[in-house]
């Protein structure tokens, strides 16, 4: 569904990605783990067209999207819950969801709202509240819910566990599993929280210094000694 072929990305003189290959198949949860500064977020942003890939190709459903503007990529069926949530804090929860439905058919709006409120009941309770008054976890839920409103075929999640309590992380990850299993949503998940991410994902990639250094199924990577040493020791 999403094929990243030999993609390199630079910020000015600094090359952040060196020929990265990643494949996300339909119905999969694929995770990308790595340390700070490995280039995880950069890869996700490159898929969305900002920054642009300096080399390589990005194919979404066999169409090259590496030169398309961000808003068109989104209209093709890729939705993103960006790093740091980036909800519209002065708008209400419901308005945030409306913004998420920008590219969707307005006829579905009520139905899609119900779906998000079923996944995250707390958002339903708070739909008239200003989004800035939500807790961190609720904001993350809103960010994911907002992304779902466009009925994407591919969901990109950038560190949904960032700065959240373990309980909330568990809840969010179980929702991700839910939408994957029940609705067959394809998910590409970028995470620092390697343990949870690998447990959830069908397959995973390990990124270090802008290169894919390891790949395999979630279980394989979890069992891998190097992965354990680098990303899992001391935690959880």
């Amino acid at each position: 569904m999403l094929a990243i072929r030999g993609v390199s990305t630079s910020y000015g003189n600094i090359q952040a990605l060196h020929g990265v290959d990643v494949e996300v198949r339909k119905g999969e949860i694929v995770t990308l783990i790595g340390a700070n500064g490995a280039g995880k977020t950069t890869l996700l942003m490159t898929v969305c067209g900002k920054p642009r890939a300096t080399a390589g190709r990005i194919l979404f459903e066999d169409r090259d999207i590496s030169m398309s503007p961000t808003f068109e990529i989104v209209r093709m069926g890729i939705a993103q819950a960006p790093e740091g949530r980036r909800i519209f804090s002065r708008m209400t929860v419901l308005e945030n969801l409306q913004m998420g439905a920008t590219v969707a058919d307005p006829a579905h709006f009520g139905e899609d709202c119900e779906r998000v409120f079923k996944l995250f009941p707390i958002l339903g309770e708070r739909k008239a509240q200003r989004a800035g008054t939500l807790s961190g976890g609720e904001q993350q839920m809103l960010s994911i819910g907002r992304a779902l409103m466009s009925r994407p075929r591919l969901l990109l999640l950038d560190e949904p566990s960032l700065g959240l309590a373990p309980m909330i992380v568990k809840q969010i990850f179980s929702v991700i599993r839910d939408i994957n299993e029940r609705e067959g949503m394809t998910v590409f998940l970028v995470e620092q929280n390697a343990f949870h991410a690998l447990k959830l994902a069908h397959r995973g990639y390990v990124l270090a210094n802008g290169r894919v250094v390891l790949q395999g199924t979630g279980a394989e990577l979890l069992a891998n000694r190097e992965v354990r040493a680098a990303y899992l020791e001391g935690g959880h």
Binding site: F71, E95, T102
Partner: protein
């Protein structure tokens, strides 16, 4: 209570006041009676009075931080009771007396507030309270304001002067509402808004002069031209943001003005364009002796001719234009494009990630804001009958922007309050003569201290579900 620190603080304030008052109040240059040269008159008495007043006032303000409310109230009353007669005889400037009275009143009110506020904490949860107040004002006072504006020309107290002032205020209300689309909703800091106002005014003037079209035919054209210029300006600059956008729009505003100033064959240069046609009421001019075959307004309605008819008509014209602007903005906020503007103001990256084309969205905001400025410009031209580049200087942009910011970004009713305050109130300060702008500036500073996010910084959600009331508040 640390008395020494309080006194020191008040002493410092008094010292600053002294340094400021000495050159500003202490010396005045006066013409010789013969008219040759000037002489300096000193007024150290006034300086001393100001310094004492600042000392007492600062002390009273500091005392307000303590739960005891009696000392500040006492000091305020002493200033009024003892100070006023003294001031009346000693001070040369009425403004000093004025300031003393106002400051005493503020301190008295605040100390009384302390007394009634049981917990003694002032300002707790202020935002919420003000938000509710703003929502309340918006819901109930909006229609009352409109009603008042409609009957205003027929009130017995309304003179020709007040009616003219009303037209002026409404023009700025309309401009404020127009700019509110750009600055308040879309969050694009536009310092050259007056350029579109000028485009509207000049397009009406030139089309009416050269092609003889009537006001009503020119009005949409003026809006269209202004919107077109909005798009032209928009294209190159919309990748900029914040300060950089402000600088470029500032430059654009100046370019338009300077082109109008220098392209004499087109715009009349510094002489401007005069004898711009006046608007007519459904084709009936406001004229005492209309040409053959044309019925004028007073003949049709069989009333005596009065010059005021046209003023009243202009008043209603701008009122309708302003209300159209307002209802348009209120409607569009509920549409996807309006929501996209607001979202863009908050987070452009998130907007991109949701499939919004930021360039088009910003361009529409620019074009629509410019269009309303164009309408207002056409109105301005027809009201004045004469336009020149003088009327479209940067200070106009600054005033309009101040109205939007002061009103609370994006708040429609706030714009009205701010326009009344910024345009109307200086007229009433005329009594203060040369201190008019000082009082005006002090009022601005005061508002920015007490209401830093604008008079009515409250955002009404653009969508309400029937059951949202139970869930939200």
């Amino acid at each position: 209570m640390d008395v020494r620190a309080l006194l020191k603080d008040a002493g410092l304030a008094a010292f600053v006041a002294f340094m400021l008052a000495l050159p500003m109040i202490g010396f005045q240059t006066v013409d010789f009676s013969g008219g040759v040269g000037i002489t300096v008159v000193t007024r150290f008495g006034d300086v001393a009075i100001s310094v004492v007043l600042v000392f007492v006032g600062r002390l009273a303000l500091s005392l307000l931080q303590y739960p005891s409310w009696r000392p500040p109230l006492l000091m305020a009353s002493v200033v009024v009771v003892v100070g006023l007669p003294l001031l009346k005889t000693q001070a040369h400037y009425p403004v000093i007396t004025w300031l003393a009275v106002i400051a005493s009143a503020v301190i008295a009110v605040r100390s009384a507030w302390l007394h009634f506020d049981v917990s003694g904490v002032v300002g707790r949860d202020e935002n919420n309270r003000m938000g509710d107040a703003a929502a309340f004002i918006g819901r109930w006072f909006g229609p009352v304001f409109v009603l008042f504006a409609v009957i205003f020309p027929f009130l017995p107290t309304t003179s020709r002067y007040l009616l003219d002032l009303g037209i002026l205020v409404l023009t700025y209300v309309m401009l404020g509402w127009g700019l509110n689309v750009v600055v308040g909703l879309a969050g694009l800091l536009d310092l050259g808004y007056v350029a579109f106002y000028a485009v509207g005014a000049y397009s009406y003037a030139i089309i009416a002069r050269d092609f003889g079209l009537t006001f009503w035919a020119c009005l949409p054209l003026a809006g269209l031209f202004a919107a077109f210029f909005g798009v032209i300006l928009g294209f190159p600059v919309l990748r900029l943001r914040g300060d950089y956008l402000a600088i470029v729009t500032l430059g654009f505003g100046e370019i338009i003005r300077i082109v109008l100033l220098n392209w004499a064959s087109f715009s009349g240069g510094p002489n401007g364009i005069s004898s711009i046609p006046r608007p007519s009421f459904l084709g009936m001019p406001f004229h005492p002796n209309p040409p053959e075959g044309v019925t004028s307004f007073h003949q049709f309605f069989n009333i005596d001719f009065s010059a005021e008819h046209r003023i009243v008509f202009l008043y209603y014209l701008i009122l309708i234009l302003a209300l159209v602007t307002n209802s348009f903005t209120l409607r569009i906020r509920k549409l996807p494009i309006g929501r996209a503007w607001e979202a863009l103001r908050e987070d452009e990256i998130a907007c991109r990630a949701l499939g919004i084309n930021p360039t088009n969205t910003k361009l529409t905001a620019f074009a629509i804001g410019a269009m309303f400025a164009g309408f207002a410009g056409a109105f301005f031209a027809t009201r004045q009958g004469f336009i020149s580049p003088e009327s479209f200087s940067f200070i106009e942009s600054a005033v309009i922007l101040a109205i939007v910011v002061l009103g609370g970004m994006g708040s429609q009713i706030g714009v009205v309050l701010a326009a009344v305050l910024l345009i109307g109130v200086p007229e009433f300060f005329r009594e203060l003569a040369q201190f008019r702008m000082l009082a005006f500036g002090a009022a601005m500073v005061g508002i920015m201290i007490w209401r830093p996010r604008g008079l009515l910084a409250h955002r009404d959600p653009s969508i309400r579900l029937s059951d949202a009331a139970g869930a939200g508040r």
